[in-house]
Structures are given as C-alpha cells and as structure tokens.
Symmetry: C2
Subunit: 621 residues, 2 copies
C-alpha cells in the first residue's frame, strides 16, 4: 500500500500552520467510559456480527464509492474500519476530517469484507468494522517521516522524534522482544533459585576499569559518587552474605569515547553463584540461551555449546572471539616455511616468530587488485606484508614461487590440503601480529565472499584465558579480566615465578564472532587475593585503600563463588537482527552521548552548582 | 539455642590476632567438582539413608560425648551435621578447628536423630547428617556481632559490615520477599499486556520537582545530565509512541535532605496506560495488591477497596492519608458551637473558621496531665488551643462547661453520639488548622491507646484532589501533583476563572494511613496543557524551554492516558513488618547519604575532574 495522493492530511504537508488551523476545526471527544474490547490484530472471520470498540491511530485513509476506509493501527496491528453514511451519518461526516496519526475510538460491527477485497497479508484481512459511533480523541500534525518500516529518514530525525520513530512496527517489535526476553530471563533464573537483588547506582569509584561517571555530593561537598561500571564487588559481597544465587538485569555506566555501538548507559544480565563449578555455569547459561532462542526466535540450538581454550582459539582462529560458522582456519607452517628460501619467512623464524597460512578454497579467482587490497588490509594489524600462492592448472603462481623447492611445495600442499583453484595466504612475524593479521583477514574474506550463513547461530565457550598480561607502558602486569579472577589451581604455584604462564578460570561466551558475555570463578581466599595484588604490583596500602572492604569481607567466611555477565542490549540486537543497539533501546543517546529528544546533557542551574560546591572551569583545558 | 561458652571460636573473641594465627593453621580444601545435592532446609525423615552433599556456614558448634555437632546454615535454613571418629577419623579430627562462620562442604548420610533429640522447631529437626568427608572451604574471623535476628548491634556497625548483617535470617527473609514481590509484580503486569521498557538514567533535569542529582558531561564540558526523579515524561512519551501499556520497576533519585525514611535512590513501580479510565486503573491495581498479599503474606484482602474523595477524607479524617482501621472521625459542629457562649468558638466562626470535634469513647479516664500533653500536641499543628468535655456520671466536666447551655449540650451530645465515660475534643480555627490538628490528634490517640489492629491492612483510594494550590511565597498557583495532571472535565471551564476550585483526575492509594502510591489521568491535549501552564503562570517561552519536547509530542497524536507509581521499598517494608526501608534494601545509605561499607561518596581523582572541566570550590559557601 502507498499513500493516497488525495489524502487530505497530505495537502498541508508543507504548510504546518494551515494544517494546524484545519486541525483545530475538529471538535475533540472525550474517551468517556469507553473500554477497548479488542486490539487491532485480533478480529477475524469468527467475530463477524460482534459489536466491538477499537481504539488507535489512523494509519491510512481511503475514500471510495462514498465510503471512508481507515486502517486503524494500535500496538498489536491494523484493522480496517469503514464509515458509511447509511450506518451513521454523523460519524461519516466527521470522518472526513481524519488524517494520518489522528487518535480515534470507534464502536462498530464486525463484517466480512466484500468478495475479492480480503487482504491475506493481514491477520484481520478478512473482516472490516462498520462504524456506528466515532470519537475523535486527538489530532496530529503531519509527522516528519512516515510511520512505516521502510524509512529513509536519517537517524538524527528519528532520534529527535523518537516517540514517532517508536511507532514504526519494527521498533515496536524490537522493544516487545526485549520485554519478552527480560520476562523469560527473570523467570528462568527465579525458577532455579536465583534472587534478584538491586545493587546501588550511587556508589564508589572502582579503579582498574574504564572512566566512571561522577556525581557530586551536596551533603559532603568535594566528594563524589560514581555510577557503577558493573556491580562486580557488590555481587561478590552478596556471595559473602550467603545469597548463593544472585541475578540482576541492571544498568551499568561507562564514560568512554563512544565507538559505533556503545552507549553511556547499558543493561547487563548479571549473575553470581556460590559453591559452583565452571561446568555448572556453562550448563545453566546454555539452558537459558536455548530457551531464549527457542521461545522468542523460533531457533533450535544444540547444547552443550562447544568449548575451546583461549590458546586453541588464538592458534586456529587468530582471536579469542572465533566465528565458527565457517572454516578458513589458521595453519601453522613454521617448520616447513623455515626450509624455504623465502627471506622474510627465514627472518621471522630466526627472530622467534611464526609463519601461518590460510587456505581459501577456490580463491584463485581473486584479481591482482583484490589481492593488493587484502595485503593493505593485513598491514593495519601490523603485518609487514603477506605472501600468497594461487594453485593454477599451469602450476603455482606466486611472487615467492621461485623460492619454494619441490619438497617445500609438497609439504605445504599436504599440510594445507590445498587443491587446484585455491589460494594460500601467508604471514610471517611475531605470533601476536600473525594471529591478529590472519584472524582479521579470515573474517574479512568470509564477509567479502559471503561464506557465513547469517541464519545460523553458533555459540562457543572460550576458556582458560591468561590471568595476567604485561603492560609495556606501565611496566607491570595487569589483569586480563579483573583482579578478582581466580587463577587455575594447577597454575597457582607459578603466580610469583612465571606470572605470564598462569591461566585463569575466566570464560567468555561467543556468538558468531561476537562476545556476548563473560565471567569467571573468583578468588574467595584472602591470601590468594593478596598474592594476586602483589603480582599486579599493588602494594598492601594501595590494596587497602582501593579494595579494603572487599579484602575485609574475604576474611569473614567467603564461599567459593563465580559468575558471569551478558550485554543485554547486544543480545537483543543479535536476536532481532538489528544492526545497532540503538534500535533495541527506547531512548538511546548519540555517539556524542546526547539525547536529541530531551537535549540532555544541558546547562545546569547556577544555584545548584553553588550548593554542590562545584564550578565549571573550561579555561583549564 | 544459645552460644556454648566452650565454643573454640569464642576464646579468641577479644584477640583477633591470636584468632587469625589459629585460623591460619587450618588447611583449606578446594570445592573440586562437588555439587550441592540439597539445601540446609530440605532434608527430613523421608531422606533417611540418603547420601548427601551439603555446603554452608558453621552456625554453631557443640562438642558432646566425643562427637562434634555443627549447625550448618545456608540461605534456606539449618541442618545438624555430626562428626564421629567411627564414621571418618580425619573429618572428626579436622572438625576441631571449625569455628563460627567457617565455610564447609560435607558429604554424609542422613539419619534419624536419637530418641528425644529431635528439634520440632526446625524443618530438618528430625534428622542429622553423619559426615564421611569434610572440606573446609574458608575460615572466618569472629564477626563483630552474632549472626542472629536478636541483635543489639547498632545500625552503623550493621551497615559497615553489611555482608554479615545480610546473613541474619530476617534480612535474608526481607530480601527474598522483595525478590518474590518483584517476580509476582512483573508477571502480573506482563500477563495483562504491559511491556517493561527501560527509560534513561542519564537524562535531563526536570523543573518543578525536588533537587536533582547532577552528572557532569565530559564530552560537552559545562553541561550536566540529571538522574531522574521519576520517568514521568518518558512514560508519557511511550504512550504517545503507542505502547499503550508500560511498566517498569525503576530506580529513581532525589537529592533531598534525608528524613528518617528516605533514600537518595529508591525503587518505584511505574505504570502508564492509554485509552484508560480511573476505574480500570483501580481494578488493575487492586488485583495486583490482592495477589501480592495473598501469595506472599497469606493475607486475604477484600476488593474493591473503598474510595473516598479528597474533600471527604479531609472532612472526616483531617488528612488525605486516612487510616480507616479505627473510628475517631472528625465531626463538624460549627452550627452548634456558634450558638454557645464560648468566645473562641464564636470568634473562629466569625472569621470564617469551623469548629470540629472528636469523640473518644471511654476517654474520660484520661488524666489532667495527659490532657495537657494532648493540648500541647495540637499546638504543633497551629491550633491555638483545644477544648475538651468529659461526660462523667455527675455531669459534664469541662473548662467550657459553664458556657454551654442545655440546648447546645443536647445538640452536641446527639451530633457526636456521646455516651457517659466519653471525652470530646474541640478545635476551632481556619479549616486547614482544624483538620491538621484534629487529624494528627486522631492518629496520636489511636497509637497511644492501641486502637488500631496492627494485623489488619486497610486500603483506600483517595480521589478528586485539588488540581492547584496557592503558593503564598511565590505568589502563584502550583500543581498539587505535577503539571501534567488532567483536570476533571466538568471543572475545566473554571481553570481560568476559579483555579482553586478545579479538581484533578489524580488518585492516591493509602494503606493504614501511609501513602503507597499515586497517579493521575494526564493531559493529552496540547491546548489543555497550554492552558494549565498559563494557570501556573508559566509563559509560552518558559514552557517551551522546560517542557518543549513534551509539548511538541502532544501535537502528534497523543492518546488519552494515565498511570500510577508505587514506592516499592515502602511497600516491601510494610509487607515484611520492617520498621525502616533500610531493612529491605541490600546496600542502603545512611541519613547523610553515605555508604558505610564502601565509603561512598569519596574524593575524586583530580585528573578526572580536569577532564570534566569541574572544580571543587568550597570557599564559595
């Protein structure tokens, strides 16, 4: 259906004042004691003859053969209502005033649509409602963009008029899905003994994270609350308090330089359990995800999800967020490449590096220009170059072909299971660069050549992350996850002697190459926590200052515990097939962290700043 | 049960260092792959012979006849476990080290307690678990207060060690009730078509409310977000967006000077509906409250709840929050009193005031001293005095007796249905003072004489509040609720001519004299909203600046809508019989808005203030 050019509302599109004048001529009615008997997606041929009251928005209007047809829209769908002077002269006369997005209530009788006029695409397409009484509840100016899914309105306009944008069926569907996912999630965990406990929003700044949002205190001037980046310490304290199973769908806050798909405030499913093992957590989460996708997306998932260690993920996929919907795995060919006469291979190996390869089946079709683009692409990730070999019918075509003897060619062919028509890519460098370059190349090739099935959801657990990593700037070890993550027991002895080799009891859940959530078994022993702070170069005094109340709590009967957290916005985005988390948040902020509708943030009242003992000082910049 | 004086843990109570040394001698065990088979409140005589694994905290220890008895406590309850060298020599030996609040896991066999040793007060009182293997998971220092309901620890200590305070069974019960109430609430409304939609926490300051908490923006220096006092405007915009039924359990924030039972952040059940009438809202809420009390408090409530207009509530109870568990209603005796010779009565009437009375049945027993205290009490509320009459066997005893002739006595007696032994109280003044004084006197008498049944829950709706009230300081009308509250249609014509006489479509739900929640039908018409702003003395420019985006939204097809909000903390406090909302919040703040556990608010990092272009300036005070 398209807009009818004779629609009265359209005439005023470019003249809001004339439109308003016209609108003011409409006498508005009260709702009175009318009650909606049905929503606009529920009447069918089984209701023919029923007297009903419907309420909603004028989606479209058509005048035909002396009758006026309105597609009446509410949250649930659309029903056609008909104004016929034979049925009610007054309603028919007043219906001439109706325009798009007017709010009306009608009382009428359900009847079959005439032969050949049924619309099989609509649930209510077999019937229409013949109106006996019309109540016009409100008028509307012409919206700045049409209320339909196919909009070319830019996002700024959509966010500025968010209350209109949310009327579009796809946005309504996203937020309904979000609601349903929240209901299912809460009930799933409640049925399994989890208690939802609300943790504070006005809390204390926690070090070792992203930037906090601060809130000046009026009662103690000069002091500030921080908005929580996560309820991490509070949920651990709830375990010390004996809650055993905690969950919360909770707002978290990070004052980051906003990347494409981050929001200053976001929602997290936060979980923590006592007396728990990794396997129990995996099983619990798999059951939740399985139920979520089955009930709300009609997708059947196989459980248990595969598990892969961090070391193996990096080795085979070049990343700790492997997309396992397709192959293109990284293959280590260091031992073969060192025997070639390729200088860059030899040099890389001499410097302790590795040589890895990806085989792209039938990749021989790539043009020289495409290959050059791929080589430029891997340089973004620090690779100095990338070698390639096309397996053509007339032999190996490659800039390095002449440096590869027959034994090397045979060994490479065998290791990579290469076939005629394939292309092989090689990067030689330090392992970090090789993995980064080939891991990203792998994803790019899959996207460019559409090798991933976008209808498939492949989950995988990544386990046994390193506990610590060396920070070359700060010249000390930092925690890969956070400083409360437990080391694997078998590695505990190496905490002081070989910290970089200690694996943690952390785990991430990855969906199609995107990290959905992550967590860990935590440190519950005071002595181990102290050893970890020492390994991080945090002295006793600093630890006391920063984490004192947690350290103290660990001395009063802290049980073994662990947990996990999921980005709820991103999960709903992936489930709904949206391309941005802004499409699953009712009132999101822009990348500059502003709300285009309300104008937040805004200039404060000067008196309030005085009360807070806070002064704006832009000159300092 | 009381603490056994021979408990080893107790020996070290006053010597934490010795205690710690002792504790360090314990070798801690790993949980390994052990899984809890039962909670500590679930085993009974039906489980005798079962092999079980229990995990929890050492609640109490008793050594008797060569055996060691531990009351093992977890979130659900307590089970007695027994260490017998005959069953497992190692466990028995190591059990000597166990002290209060140590964390352990045991594997053992359920057996009947010996004849005469059953404890009928415990669910698990008929059995005990004979231990075959003990795992000591953590030690504990001696808590600063015992983990039991009867504590005389002051609240500061309890809040400082909140993770221990929360282990007390009553606190655990309160937070479980809170969780269960949230689950029931969300499901109740979800089943009725409500969508839970999350509204922003970082939002724009709204005028006309309490003081906002502010959050400086780093990206736009000099601008601030405000934390929401309620999602009022957002939920109205969701109605404009066509959501029709919205709910949210949501954190709200008010930077108020904290009274006894306020928190800087609190939780609100927030609801909004389109195409709705007051009666539908009442019915919906009554169904929710009825289910809540039936399922979670075992209390059966009669619905519908009584409704009383604001005018009648003030007339009969002197307040808009009437406690209807008892009588002592205010009776207007102005017409009779003016015929007496009591000067203060006559003067009050001449000045346009009223004379009202309360009859306290059998109140004749009150002593002169008690009467003097009551007279002092009503003076707090502005009354210049209070007259009283005791109906004694030998006649009317009263300072004003001689000014009352027989006809007046007879009329008063009849109007007040006075009987021998009663006392009558009279206040004569302007209506506001009379109602305030006698309304408060009524509550005080009921409390002092225990006239209210504390096991009874009496709900009542108060309706038809005034829309506006005169602010003598600002010399203008202000909104009694908020400026989006709809006037009653029949009073709309008086908005410009007699604003103080316009009644609103606001309603409060009152429980036993406490306001639990309130709401209103909102203004959905742009023209009416503009008229209301005008009545409030808010000019077009100011309205645009302050409420522009709402005013604009009302022009794009806003449906008739209304809603309500409930203080969730207070509701749970009343349901759990707690005396403070702090007892139903996991991590509350003190009256000075500080968290004694984490130390929030705290001094910020100077670099972060620089980034925010914010400077602390205490000198300005």
């Amino acid at each position: 259906m398209t807009h009818d050019a004779t629609l009265p509302g359209e005439r005023f599109k470019d003249d809001p004042e004339a439109k308003e004048l016209e609108a003011q001529k409409v006498t508005l009615d009260s709702l009175g004691d009318w009650v909606k008997t049905h929503d606009c997606n529920s009447l069918g041929t089984g209701n023919v003859g029923a007297r009903v009251r419907l309420m909603g928005w004028v989606d479209r209007r058509r005048d035909h053969g002396g009758l006026i047809f309105i597609d009446l829209r509410d949250r649930e769908g659309v029903t056609q209502v008909v104004f016929d002077p034979q049925a009610d002269e007054t309603s028919h006369r007043r219906a001439h005033a109706l325009r798009s997005e007017y709010v009306i209530a009608v009382e009428g009788t359900v009847r079959l649509r005439p032969e050949g006029m049924a619309n099989p695409r609509l649930v209510t397409g077999g019937i229409e409602v013949l109106v006996h009484e019309l109540r016009i509840l409100n008028t509307s100016r012409t919206p700045p963009f049409p209320i339909e899914d196919d909009t070319d309105a830019n996002e700024s306009i959509r966010l500025r008029y968010r209350y209109l944008d949310l009327r579009r069926p796809s946005m309504m569907r996203n937020l309904k899905l979000r609601h349903q996912a929240a209901v299912l999630t809460r009930n799933y965990f409640a049925q399994r003994g989890f208690l939802e406990v609300e943790t504070p929003i006005l809390t204390r700044s926690t070090p070792e994270g992203a930037r906090d949002y601060l809130v000046p205190s009026r009662v103690s001037p000069g002091n500030f609350y921080a908005l929580p980046q996560s309820p991490q310490i509070f949920k651990q304290l709830l375990m010390v308090a004996g809650f055993e199973r905690y969950m919360q769908l909770v707002k978290c806050f990070r004052d980051e330089d906003l990347r494409a798909d981050r929001q200053p405030e976001f929602t997290q499913l936060d979980l923590e359990m006592s007396f728990i093992t990794e396997e129990q957590i995996y099983e619990l989460i798999e059951g939740w995800i399985e139920a979520l996708f089955r009930e709300l997306a009609g997708v059947s998932l196989e459980t248990p999800f595969p598990r892969i260690t961090y070391a193996e993920a990096v080795d085979r996929y070049g990343t700790d967020r492997p997309d396992i919907r397709y192959g293109l795995e990284l293959v280590d060919v260091t031992d073969i490449a060192r025997r070639s006469d390729v200088r860059v291979f030899q040099q890389a190996v001499e410097r302790g590096g590795v040589v890895k390869a990806i085989r792209l089946p039938e990749g021989g079709r790539l043009s020289r220009k495409e290959l050059d683009e791929l080589i430029e692409y891997v340089k973004i990730f620090g690779a100095k170059g990338m070698a390639w070999i096309k397996l053509q019918p007339d032999g190996w075509q490659s800039p390095i072909a002449k440096f590869l003897g027959d034994p090397v060619r045979e060994a490479l062919g065998q290791r990579l299971q290469a076939r005629q028509g394939d292309i092989l890519f090689f990067v030689a460098d330090q392992p970090g660069i090789v993995h980064d370059a080939l891991g990203n190349l792998r994803v790019r090739l899959a996207q460019q050549l559409a090798l991933m099935d976008t209808s498939v959801y492949k989950f995988t657990w990544v386990t046994q992350f390193p506990l610590l990593e060396w920070d070359a700037d700060e010249k000390r070890f930092t925690a890969v996850h956070h400083p409360f993550t437990a080391p694997m027991e078998e590695d505990l002895d190496r905490l002081e002697t070989q910290p970089e080799a200690v694996r943690s009891r952390a785990y991430d859940l990855v969906l199609n190459g995107t990290e959905l959530g992550g967590g860990s078994i935590r440190i519950h022993r005071h002595d181990v926590q102290q050893r970890l702070f020492a390994a991080l170069g945090i002295g006793a005094e600093e630890a006391e200052e920063k984490f004192g109340f947690l350290l103290e709590a660990l001395q009063y009967g802290a049980p073994p515990h662990g947990g996990i957290a999921f980005g709820f916005d991103r999960l709903i985005m992936l489930m709904s097939g949206s391309s941005s988390i802004r499409d699953v948040i009712a009132f999101p902020k822009t990348q500059k962290a502003t709300c285009l509708m309300s104008g937040a943030p805004s200039e404060p009242d000067i008196n309030q700043l005085l009360e807070l003992c806070v002064k704006i000082e832009k000159a300092g910049r």
